[in-house]
Amino acid sequence: MKLEINNAVCGYGSRRIIEDLSFVVESGEILCLLGPNGVGKTTLFKTILGFLKLQSGEILIDGNNIEKWPRNRLAKIIGYVPQAHTPPFPFNVLDVVIMGRTAHLGPFASPSKRDILIAEEALETLNVSFLKDRIYTEISGGERQMVLIARALTQKPDILVMDEPTANLDFGNQIKVLEQINRLSKSGLAVFMTTHFPNQAFLCSTKIIILQKNNEFKMGKVEEVITEETLKATYGIDVRITSVKNQNGENINACIPLLN
């Protein structure tokens, strides 16, 4: 499965926020989107998911333009993991996860036993089956994030789009979510995610796009794109990039900000 963005122009109404951006994500890849606040990460996201109209350019899935696709066709291919928020009603966790089946069900249908099994399987994949009978509004932020990932997996998508999947999570939960993202991509999903932390990109992304102010972007392999100079230019701060070895003896880069 291949998601291809060609010469995209995104924005609200007549305001153009992103101009002429092109990139590709394929099965097994994790593409991280990095950039300062207000640079258009969310705008790009909303455009890919079809919440905003693409102003110019095209979005292709395996070479097919998705512009005219109905919602449920897109939802069978792209699973969206939003930032966890609290819905107004105390839904059961399993009920929330089953909502991922919406695109696969007819308009008047309720989920069948098979849909329940798929939802339980998704929770199992993420090792959070114990949450199944809990109340979604009463579990922790990290658990809620896992439930939303499970819901997206229940869509049986080929591409996962994640909006800051580690936002508002404690350090341990951040890493647990990253581990799951890595596992999912190894199982063949294409992942497109935003993050505020270059270190997370070092830990799991195979590709990166950095959006900078004035509509400039850099993209490519993580080690090549995330440099001390680029981060200075992007965020206006001084950082040092160093390298440590992991348990397999591989080099892992890390960036450390320097305070003035």
Partner: protein
């Protein structure tokens, strides 16, 4: 091999447990239906002209098998011309308001929302007031009320679309609904102000307080058509309402055409609300309180919440209307009673309910 078998069976067992819990909840529907039928039978015997339950069964039995009437003709009138339409109206109005309230609470992601949020009640009240001012017959008043109820919601929807310039926002819809409601309420006040205080003003005021004393079978038969037209699609689409309550973007990402589903639910809810006002006047609080009570009973999943709301709403208004007509020598307007009961009851729910929204 052994392992994989276990891992296949285990989720099956788990899902059976899940299904079993769902089944428990289905029992609640059965119990509520039984309660509704029992209350319906008892309500027949209540009233200024009391008829014992045994005699009621005797009459029903004779009617069913075409036996000769052995009872007073007055009893026949009281039972089938006065009480039957009234009880049926109470049930259908309570059910309709609760259904539409529960739907709106999900649609607007807000548990404080009620069936009249987009102006249906105020519009319908205004239509009826004009009908009475112009001395229309009861059927004409009913029709005016229904038409203006639909019109008010149409105005809300169109204005909020224009203001939002294509971005369909539910918040904008609610705000526009408030404006339209307030506008129609002022218009009602204006009509009251210019109406003849001895005749028209009395009639309008009384009508607006809500009540079922004037209901005839013929009125009920007509209004049941839009009620069924509104209720059936909502009940069919009920599982999708869950997804809608997570917000537009998430619902879209999960594969729902939100603009279309929202339009359908608004049309259906409006048909329900406008129908109730056209025959029963403005009966407040039912559409707000009953969905909460139902949610306490069966949880927020619309698959079961919507039918539960329908039954609880019907049962509730049937009981309240019994109180309205039997408690005192003079009949109390139903709308006043639902507020007097509904407001403190709502506070009770707030104190004891499981609240997901705080």
């Amino acid at each position: 091999m052994e392992d994989s078998k276990i891992s296949e069976i285990e989720p099956l067992i788990k899902s059976k447990k899940y299904a079993a819990r769902k089944f428990d909840k289905k029992w609640i529907l059965l119990i509520l239906s039984a309660l509704l039928i029992a209350t319906f039978a008892i309500s027949f015997t209540l009233g200024r002209y009391a008829i014992p339950l045994s005699q009621l069964f005797e009459i029903l039995f004779s009617k069913l098998f075409g036996f000769q009437a052995t009872w007073d003709a007055t009893i026949d009138t009281v039972l089938f011309k006065v009480r039957l339409p009234r009880l049926l109206a109470a049930i259908s109005i309570g059910a309709a308001l609760s259904l539409s309230g529960a739907t709106y609470q999900g649609l607007f992601k807000n548990p404080m929302v009620s069936a009249d949020i987009l102006g249906a009640s105020a519009g319908a009240g205004f239509g009826a007031a004009i009908g009475m001012l112009l001395s229309f017959d009861p059927m004409g008043i009913q029709l005016m009320s229904f038409a203006f109820g639909l019109g008010a919601v149409a105005i809300t929807t169109i204005v909020s679309t224009i203001v939002g310039r294509g971005n369909d926002s539910t918040l904008l819809l609610v705000l526009t609904g408030m404006v339209v409601t307030s506008l129609f309420s002022s218009a009602i006040a204006l009509i009251k102000y210019i109406a003849d205080p001895d005749l028209k003003l009395r009639e309008i005021t009384f009508w607006l307080m809500g009540g079922l004393s004037a209901i005839r079978m013929s009125d009920l038969k007509i209004v049941l058509i839009p009620m069924v037209l509104g209720a059936v699609p909502l009940l069919l689409l009920r599982w999708r309402l869950n997804v809608l309550s997570f917000g537009d973007e998430e619902a879209q990402a999960l594969g729902i055409d939100t603009s279309r589903l929202r339009l359908i639910t608004i049309i259906c809810s409006t048909l329900l609300t406008a129908s109730t006002v056209s025959i029963g006047g403005i009966i407040g609080w039912v559409g707000l309180v009953i969905p909460h009570l139902a949610r306490m009973l069966v949880g927020p999943n619309y698959s079961i919440l919507l039918p539960t709301s329908l039954l609880v709403g019907g049962l509730y208004l049937l009981i309240v209307d019994n109180v309205a007509r039997c408690m005192f020598a003079m009949e109390i307007p139903l709308g006043i009673l639902t507020s007097v009961i509904g407001a403190p009851f709502f506070i009770y729910l707030l104190m004891h309910g499981k609240r997901g929204w705080v």
